[in-house]
Structure formats: C-alpha cells, structure tokens
Amino acid sequence: MARNPDADNAPVKKEIESPTSKYDAEKASSFKVVGSRPARPDGMDKVTGRARFGADMVMPGQLVGLILRSPHPHAVIKSIDSSEAEALSGVKAVVTRDDFAPNDDHADVLYNIMAREKALYEGHAVAAVAATSRPVARKALKLIKIDYDILPHVTDVDEAMSPNAPVLHDDIITKGVNPAPTKPSNVVARSEFGHGDIDAGFAQADEIIERSFKTAATHQGYIEPHACVANVGADGMSELWCCTQGHFHVRQVCASLLGIDVSRLRVTASEIGGGFGGKTTVFIEPVALALSRKAGRPVKIAMTRDEVFKASGPTASSSMNVKIGVTKDGRITAGYGEFRYQGGAFAGAPADFGAMSAFACYALDNVKTEAYDVVTNRPKGAAYRAPGAPMSVYAVESVVDELAARIGMDPIDLRLKNAAKEGARSSYGPKFGSCGLVETLEAAKAHPHYSASLGPNQGRGIASGFWFNFGGETCSNLNINADGTVTIAVGTPDIGGSRASMCIMAAEELGIPYDKVRAIVADTSALGYNDTTEGSRVTFSSGMAVIKASQQAVTEMCKRAAMMWDIPAEAVTWEDGCAKPSGPNAGDFEPLSLAEIAATAGKTGGPIAGHHEYNADGAGVSFGTHIVDTEVDPETGKVDIIRYTVIQDAGKAIHPDYVEGQFQGGAAQGIGWALNEEYIYGDDGKLQNAGFLDYRMPVASDLPMIDTVIVEVPNPGHPYGVRGVGETGIVPPLAAIANGVSAAAGVRMTELPMSPPRVLKAIDDAKVAAE
C-alpha cells in the first residue's frame, strides 16, 4: 500500500478483495524470458553519463530560480518587501505567498511550498526569485526583507503532544477522539486497529514484556537533489521537466495550485536519481512554474543538499510503547502498541500505517494498536519506503525477540508458531490471502548463516517485516513497429530498473526476444493518468498493464493473419512469436511472425497497438525475514555489520538482479537508520546536521556483501504471480540489527540510531545497574 501524503483520505486497500487478474499457473510453468537477467535498456546511458536527470535539462533562455527560506523554526511572517530585489538588474521575477491563490484541495501542499501566515520550520520557503544568473539570484535573495515575529517552537513528538506545547495550527482539532477536544493541539488524529480482547489475552500469558522505544527521523537520502525546469507560455501552455516518482500527480497538483487546466500542463519525468518515497510530492515545481509565468521565460530550480535536508520530506521520528504476552510454549496471547509519530509541520505522519503493520507478521486472537499523527516544527514529511512500518515493527520485533529469550525458545520458532498465513485475520483488518512469511522463516532457519558460529562481542539478530503493497490507477501503451520491434510506453517513472522488467514481460507475452522491445516513460500528455511510482506497485501494476496490452496486440495480430490467410480469426493462435493456424481444419499455412505481420500492417488495417487502462487491485502482501550478525566494540560502542542475509517473498522475480537489488538497498538503508542516521535538532529548533558529512549514510566500507534469498510464493492476483518487492526490505533491518546489538552488548537497545555514544552509554548503564 502506498499513501501519498498529499492525499487526505488515502484509500486503505484490502488485499485480494477483488483482484484484477488471476495467477496463470500454466503460463508460469513455461517462462522463456521472465526470470532471466538481461542488461537494462537505460544502462548504457547511465554508465556513460548520457542519461539526463532532473538538473541536466537546459531550455533556451532559461533563468536561474532560487528560494529564500525561513531561518526560524516558527515565526509569523508579518510582511515581505521584495521591491529592492525586483529592481535589481537581471532579476526577472519574484514570487511570494501573494502569487498563489488559496487552494482548498491542496491547502497543506500550498502552505508547504510557500509559507503563508507563518513559517513553520527552519527552511520553509518564503519567497523565490528568477534571475539571469546564479550570482544575481543570490544577491536578490539578500535584498528581500522579511519581518518575522518569532514564536516558541517544538520539534520532539512527545513534547509536541504535551498540553503546554506551542501549537502550530489553530485549526487542528484532534480527530478520532471521543468526545472531540474543544481546543486546537498538535495531535492531528488518533486511530485504532485490532480485534479481540487484549485484557483477556494478557491474562492468559505466562510472560509479558512491555517496553518503550524511540526512533529518530531519517531522510530517504537520494543522491539526486530535487530539480526542475518550468516553461510557461504567454497563452498558458506549459511544460515542466522534473525528477519525480509521479509526474501525473505533479501535473494535477501544480495545475491546481497555479489555477490552470490539466491539459495545458505537460510534465515530463526525467531520469530520477533515487526517491524512496521522497519524490512523490511537489516542493519546487509549483514555484518554478509561478516564476516562469511571471518572467515569461523558462526557469530552472535545483535544490542544494542543505535544502534537501531542511525542506524536502524526511520520514517521521517516533515514540512507542509495546506490550506483548506469551505462553511458556510460545503462543502470543495478546499484543498492544501505541505509536506516536511526528511528521513535521503538517498532517500526515504515517502513524496509522505503523500501527497497521506493527503486528502484521502475527496471527493473533487479541491485538490492539493506537496511532497518533503529530505535527512539529520540522519539514513536512513525505513517504519513505514502507512509510511508518520500520519503526513500529522495530518495537514489536524487539519485544518478540526478548520474549523468545525469556521463554527459552528459538526466535524463528516463536515466529513460526504465531506466523500470519493464508486465511488468518490480519491485525489491521482483512484476512490474508496466499502469502510467504512462513516460507521466509523456514528459509532463514535452513540458511547456513543462521547456524554459523559467532565471535567475541558478536550477536545475531533476526526479524521479520511486512508491507501491504499497492496496485492503483495505471495506463500503458504498446506499439508494434513496422520492422517487428515493439515500443512500450508506461506512465510510472523507472526508479530501479522497471523498464527492463516491462520489456521482459512484453517479450514473454509476444514471444519475441527481449532486445526487440524498448520501454519508455511517457509524458503526461501521452497517456492516461497513472498513479505514482510508490507502494511497490510498478512491476505489479504497470507490468500487468503491459501484459494485457501485449495480449490485445496479439489478438489483433491473429486477426491480421486471419485476414492474410482468409480464414476466421478464431482459427488463428499465437505461439512463439508467430500466428499459426489453430488446427488442421484451419488450413495449411506457414506461420507468420510478428515481424511479417507488422511489415504489411498498412495493407491489413493500419498500425497495430495494444493498450490497457485499469485500477489494479490484488497487489498481494509482502513479507521478509532478515538475519544479521553484528559486532559491538565494548570500548567505543561502535557497531559493525559482519554478515547480512535478506530473505523475502517476491511472488515471482521478473528480473532477479533488480529484485536482489531492492532487497540489498532496503537492507542498507535500514542499516543506516539503525546505526547512524538521524535528524539532530538543537534547542534553537534548527537542524544541526544538514549534510552528508554529519548525516552519515552507509558508505561502501561500512557494509559487508548483502546475501539474498528470493522466495517465490505466487501472488494469486497477478498472471505471473508478481508481488511488489520495493519496500518490505527496509522493514526488518531496524529490529534485526537492534536484536543483534542487544545480544552482542548484553543490554536491550530501545532507541535508534544505535550510534557509538548511545551504545556505550547503554553498556555503561547496564554495568552500573548490575553492580
């Protein structure tokens, strides 16, 4: 499942509710191209530097756009005087809040991209200029005079929930609380999930462990900063080039914020240099369009890394309590969790997803979770790979690990005994369809890593994780070219190699070689609406649209062959890339290849194409289990990752290299989150580490090889059995590593990141407590 933080009432999808398609076991037993590992179509451009990313576009006459940002975490903007900046030679436009009309559909997005009555976090945009050069634009920013009235601020989630906290928004009255509060607060909403009677469940338990946990806010850390070029014509016809996971969404929001028709704005998605959820929304794009409209020239804006940290969309920090009860023989009798997430200055912290996924790995009779979505003076959060799940699963899987030790049971056996499986009621509502958690646990137990010996100061951790997965609105085209090659147009930006998977699936259906197919990401004017590349949805839903479009083209090609042979279309079948008479009664004809049919298409009715548009359902849930060996230096508290194995259900791996890549990338991000990465705020409410030197993401020398095991339990809702694989990989690492470090250090780690000072303190505190 995915939620765009901009969408207010994001759909809660239930798996296998009404799958769009059904698994085709016969087809899956004889794949020719699916499961192979060909080179990706965009690979050559990327190893040679030819590929064009967001900041690589140049439009004739383009201006440089820069954004002025609030130095204060919370302040009333009393006035903005840009007259001196506007008078500076070379300045072609200045925009502020006055250049954007109020917008009920996207009120928070509008407020976020350009501050209105208040600046709500350090880095909040307050004005922007377009000028003929960067030095002129920089000078212009300095000439803009803002009169601020500084207010008290809050950046910590628990402090933001306290009754005395400074309140960010006068109109936030907590939803989901009965009776409704009478006063505004920073708590946007409370939500609750679960079933059964947890009090009765805890009464049956032999052992109960209750603990509190905290995790720091982290950033997606994509290497490419946000960048765009906007070009608005005098007649309002507009084009926008940008790095985004969802150019259709960008078009919709930008058109709305600028008050123009959707048809007048054509958005092209550049190659995208990483996103992980962080590029599912808009930040600079509407500002560049507004500047371009005012200046009458193209405007390019590229964020600096400092801006990316301070003013894009990191994920939530969390504060959580988890309580789990278990019998001596390892049956979990009840689970309870309270999850408090701050998601920055606006509503949308993924606390509800955290609460929904916290216990999803377990089939429980009694489970209850509560979620609190809280605002603070931090940048508005965006999605980050399985938004909300890594934190809550860290808390739950830590307690499960501790319970296993308490009752003397192998942690995998404890999980197997309680594992979610087909037919079980999930902790968030619907019943599970076919799913692969048990298979990943069994594979973990059988893996040599799990039984390998450990050295001194080393500890092994395991954890499982879950993600919902998502389908969504999708539209793809496929054209059979006259020379027998095939072109596919999809509307889902390719963030990790999906064009290769699209080509594989088309080649499979059409029965032609992979290298005869090319896939492109088409612009917003070329295809119907496509949901964003998020929710692990692309290989599942764009892939299924490509399969259906291929099947449509095959039907048409059979018709053309029938016409050429002068027999009924029903008497033609498609096999190995050729039309063939379906039996002896159909007549005796030599098979016609795709290329032969394409070459004469002009004489048989014109171009041959297939297309498919639908709202994909049946994405199929995803589970994984990770094993990690950690080593803790007892003198410094530094943690090294010695060995790491990811085991995850992919349903069916279309291109196994890129499935492994998703597993490895998710694990590496999780390692960073567990050990080093954190947004550090000073008492002044300002971010202290807005750069890659101080916000320490894993580098090559920090990591071992990351082993992978692809488990394939077919998704019943996809013809090839595909499940999305993009997000689940980041869910188990926080807990797996915490479990490993806790074992190595001999003390339970309840706060992330487990940076050296924090680990050392935990070790020292434990020593003091033991004395």
């Binding site: 040679t48 990313f53 990790g496």
Partner: protein
C-alpha cells in the same frame, strides 16, 4: 564580475572557457560546457557523484574551482568509453546490474577506473575503502563491489 580565462584539456581535447571566480569545476563542466555526466549530489565533497580526474588524480570537481583547471588535464565520465566500446568497469556495472537509479554511477565509474589504474589487483576491502567517497543509496554497494572486482580480473587478463 570579471571572468577568468582558462585553457585546459578535457578528455584529451583542448578547451577554453571564461568562468567566474566563484564557479567550481563542476559548475563549469555542467553549465558552461554542457557536460552533465558529472552530477552534483552535495557540493561538499561527500558524495563523489561529481568525480573527475585532474592530471590523473581522482578529485571531486565540486571542491575545485573552474579557474584551477588552467593547464591541467581533466578526465570526466564522458571520456571513458571509446566510442561504443565501454571501459571494463562500465561493462561490468551493466553485467552485474550494479546500478538502480544510476545517478551515482558516473562517479563510481570514474573512481573505480582510477583505482584500477593505481592498483590492478585490489582486495574487496581495498575496493570498499577506495569507493567510500562515493555514496550510493540504492544498491547497498554489493553489486558495485562485485562489478569492480570483476573488471579488475578482466583487466588483469584473468
């Protein structure tokens, strides 16, 4: 603002440009010369996406001024393949699927090539430390390290 006239060599070709004193070599490559293969990920020398060689030495072009290229020989990602013939590092990155988004890839290619010219037979640990100045957020480095080790083996004739 008066410009500075610079004569340099980029990928073997003589190049002249006029740059501002504050412009980095990366700014010049990208904005003045249209060589956008070198990427700006941080502008602080932490991510390595802008890696180039200067007189053969691996350098972050964001940490060097455009004016400092005077009289030097600059090597960029655009000069590594010879026509359609890829350098072994490039080919092995493709073969190992050692990229996802690909924005860090040019920097890794430049850095890995510089490593193998200096040390044709590196250990995995040496590759990991040499490439520690290049951030990749997609791959977890596994396939990149394998690609570089493969390229090293191929270049040694193994």
């Amino acid at each position: 603002m008066s410009g500075i006239h610079v004569s340099t060599k980029i990928n073997g070709d003589a190049v002249e440009y006029v740059c501002d004193v504050e412009e980095t070599l990366l700014d010049v490559l990208r904005d003045k010369l249209g060589m956008t293969g070198s990427k700006e990920g941080c502008a602080s020398g932490d991510c390595g996406a802008c890696s180039v060689t200067v007189d053969g030495r691996l350098t972050c072009s964001c940490l060097m001024l455009g004016a400092e290229a005077q009289g030097r020989e600059i090597g960029t990602i655009e000069g590594i393949a010879k026509g359609t013939e890829l350098h072994p590092v490039q080919q092995k990155i493709l073969d190992n699927a050692a990229l996802q988004c690909g924005v860090c890839t040019p920097g890794f290619v430049v850095a890995a090539k510089a490593l193998l010219e200096k040390k044709p037979d590196p250990t995995e640990t040496e590759v990991r430390y040499w490439l520690a100045g290049n951030l990749c957020r997609c791959t977890g480095y596994d396939k990149i390290i394998r690609a570089v080790m493969d390229a090293a083996a191929e270049m040694r004739g193994n």
